[in-house]
């Protein structure tokens, strides 16, 4: 005897019913939690930007952000200007930290002029220029906030990723990797060169700051290459701004 659940009509009705139930459940969960998630993301961006310019609560070996309660206050305290660079135009925009770098990259591909956000921070008399960038790792997106001085020397950096391999590529957001970038020069003999994540540069303590190289993570070759490519192609776009800065 055929079971009730084996009938084609039952199967189709079950499938339709399940899609409706699961679909509305997910839609409800997503829309009711949306506001909280957006707030969390915005706070995270502020924490990331502050981290890059050295406003953080790092202990001996771990990267620790300022608390989410304090982030908005510290952000308005340390970040003095938020700029949007579009070609030769530089405009001030106090919501520039909300610019989605991914969307801007898509716009650039479509032939439109890309908006480049830049944050200027002041800490203990020093000026930091913080740039958000985005690229591709092994599995998914990787991104970074790079704090520079006006000579394009890295003052601090925060890397993060969406889904790199835990224990390997995912380690780009660990101190032992990020701290290597501090002091590295993006320029070489007056030309923009970027910073390469290099295997076998025989400098595990990263003492040489003028070689445009930092030590790679073993087992994370493609993530490392993604970091090099991202730093090169994205930071290059900001070079004209820094040239103008020097000329004025």
């Amino acid at each position: 005897m055929e079971k009730r659940t084996d009938k084609n009509s039952y199967t189709i009705i079950f499938a339709i019913g399940m899609v409706l139930v699961v679909g509305s459940l997910l839609a409800y969960a997503s829309s009711s939690l949306k506001d909280r998630i957006t707030t969390n993301r915005e706070l995270e961006m502020q924490q990331n930007i502050l981290y890059a310019m050295g406003v953080n609560e790092n202990d001996d070996s771990n990267a620790i952000f300022v608390s989410t309660q304090e982030a908005p206050k510290l952000f308005s305290e340390y970040i003095t200007e938020q700029l949007v660079i579009q070609g030769d135009n530089v405009t001030e925009d106090n919501k520039a930290y909300l610019i989605d770098v991914k969307k801007e990259q898509t716009r650039a591909k479509a032939g439109e002029e890309r908006r480049l956000p830049l944050f200027i921070g002041e800490k203990e008399g020093q000026t930091f220029y913080i740039v958000p960038i985005r690229g591709k790792g092994l599995w998914d997106a990787i991104w970074a906030y790079v704090a520079l001085d006006d000579n394009l020397v890295v003052q601090g950096v925060f890397f993060d990723h969406k889904g790199e391999t835990a224990g390997l590529g995912a380690n780009i957001n660990k101190r032992f990797f990020m701290d290597d970038f501090i002091g590295e020069d993006l320029m070489h003999d007056g030309k923009f060169k970027g910073i390469a994540v290099a295997k076998g540069n025989a400098d595990p303590l990263n003492i040489d700051k003028t070689d445009n190289e930092v030590d790679a993570i073993a087992g994370a070759t493609i993530t490392g290459d993604g970091v090099s490519a991202m730093l090169k192609s994205e930071l290059k776009l900001y070079v004209p701004y820094f040239k103008n800065l020097k000329n004025n």
Partner: protein, 214 residues
Amino acid sequence: MGLLSKKDAKLIIDPLADDNPITIQVLGICSALAITAELKASLVMAISVIFVLGMGNVVISLMRNIIPSKIRIIVQLIVVATLVIIVDLVLKAFAYELSKTLSVFVGLIITNCIIMGRFEAFALGNGPWRSFLDGIGNALGYGVILIIVGFFRELLGSGTLFGFPVLGDPIAKTGLYSTGYENNGFMIMPPMALIVVGIIIWVQRSRNKALIED
């Protein structure tokens, strides 16, 4: 175990050793290779799978009499994906830091074949309580192997455990490194996970000859 009958206790204990999902059933190898370079990642993955498999088995078991057999695999996949996505959304809203740590594992959990395997082999034919125990037992068995592999890979590959240096500093040559010992970089690569799992299987089968197939 006074709380559980002998038959129920078997559901938890068997997968820990003689019916282990990784070493005996050879399921879930993909994630066991991918994320065991660090002990911490192994532990997080183990806890996540315990949660998802326990919950998923109960849901599938409750639905077992209404799921049409022709599309049961799709239904199983949707149940596990929905569970994981809802948990991910809730964590993003209320425990953002934790959700960032876990985001790497979401895809690996949904596609973990132990989960599909237990739905198909157990939850479709048993009641919710027994399915729950079976889910917890199998996830624990999976987790134990993950932690053993993660322990050896992190210790021999990076000289650390949970990120803490236990063998000294490899660059400054202190501790064990002063004797000329070096970290084995190959341990960090996925092939070594396969070899470590192979060694565990070897040890297990040489101790219990009944497990050897012809």
